[in-house]
């Protein structure tokens, strides 16, 4: 699974940057086409959901998604054949 921020919904409040235990969300630097500074993702493959959501069949952790006031965070199926980076942390 792949962590994505829906740029059509994100309003750039940066609340997601406060709650991720892996600090995956970093405040963005440049405004997008809608003039909103969307956070950037730092190695999102570290998120437990990217690795294990499909296996467990439910959302793990999920703090970023819960606090995001604009329902902008979700996990997408990777397209078949898409190269995936797997990060395992101990």
């Amino acid at each position: 699974m792949r962590l994505v921020i829906d740029e059509r919904r994100c309003k750039g409040c940066n609340l997601c940057t406060m709650v991720c235990p892996y600090r995956i969300f970093k405040p963005g630097t440049k405004p997008n086409a809608r003039g909103i500074v969307v956070p950037e993702l730092d190695r999102p493959e570290r998120c437990a959901n990217c690795r294990l959501q499909a296996l467990y069949g439910r959302t793990l952790c999920g703090m970023c998604q819960m606090i995001c006031p604009d329902q902008a965070i979700r996990w997408e199926e990777e397209k078949p054949g898409e190269a995936t980076k797997v990060a395992i942390e101990f």
């Binding site: 919904r9 909103i36 329902q71």
Partner: protein
């Protein structure tokens, strides 16, 4: 299913300002709802007027967006007429405690089987930041330009005294706890009241030394204090900070209730 299945995707993004805590409360409520396994067609959202009260418009179930302060009275009619429906109310601090204060205490007294989620931003958000019954003493608003002189309501104490079966307070920072509290509210027969303190960066934060959204979330995080701890401090005769936000379940009981599904 996930909480996202309960959203009216065609209406998003919603009208809330960037960083408004109301969106977070919607997430928590829908997550709790999803866990209940209720059907969409047997769940009804009701609200009054205010930013907070716009929430039902973003949810796929039947919903009634009513008049300022009166959501609980409308919800009472729905629930009494058809107790098989699960009725959830979104309201704001002004909606619930000012203009709707009388309906609030009477809905608690009747202990009618509703789950009420109050998004308390301590301000009138929609009308541009006037003082509300929960604006803290000293806080600035457009109608308290020298700092509010009025003591504020404690909504949870009010609901407890008036007879609600379940009463709990969390904030938009405490998403897991808030979700659990709403879930408990859904499960509890009778009146369940969940107060969610939320940031209103536009009309409260800005005027009250929270430069950005994160500052107020940080404040919720650092000033939140569990009810159990407050009780312990009290027993030990130790002081409780004035600006503490008391969090937790205030009441969980089984008083006779109305409108419970038979």
């Amino acid at each position: 299913m996930t909480y996202a299945d309960w959203l009216r995707e065609d209406r998003l993004p919603h009208i809330y300002c960037a960083g408004c805590g109301n969106g977070t409360v919607i997430n928590c409520t829908l997550n709790a709802l999803d866990r209940m396994g209720w059907k969409k067609e047997e769940t009804i959202f009701v609200s009054g007027i205010g930013c907070s009260s716009r929430a039902p418009g973003y949810i796929v179930t039947d919903s009634l967006h009513t008049t300022h302060g009166r959501a609980l009275a409308f919800a009472t009619g729905i629930k009494m007429a058809n107790p098989a429906l699960h009725v959830v109310v979104f309201t704001g601090d002004g909606d619930l405690a000012a203009i709707g204060g009388n309906h609030f205490i009477h809905a608690c007294r009747r202990n009618i089987d509703l789950t009420v989620v109050c998004m308390n931003n301590q301000i009138y958000g929609m009308t541009g930041g006037q003082g509300s019954p929960t604006t803290p003493r000293g806080a600035l608003s457009t109608t308290t330009p020298y700092g509010s002189q009025e003591p504020a309501f404690d909504l949870c104490e009010l609901a407890s005294a008036a007879g609600a079966n379940f009463v709990s307070r969390w904030t938009s920072y405490h998403v897991k706890e808030l979700t659990r509290a709403v879930h408990t509210g859904f499960e509890t027969p009778g009146f369940s009241f969940i107060e969610a303190l939320v940031q209103c960066p536009t009309n409260y934060g800005r005027r009250n030394k929270f430069r950005n959204v994160m500052d107020q979330i940080e404040y919720f995080k650092t000033h939140g204090i569990l009810l159990q701890k407050v009780k312990r401090l009290r027993e030990e005769g130790k002081p409780i900070p004035d600006d503490a936000i008391v969090l937790g379940d205030f009441v969980q009981r089984n008083r006779a209730a109305m409108g419970v599904r038979r």
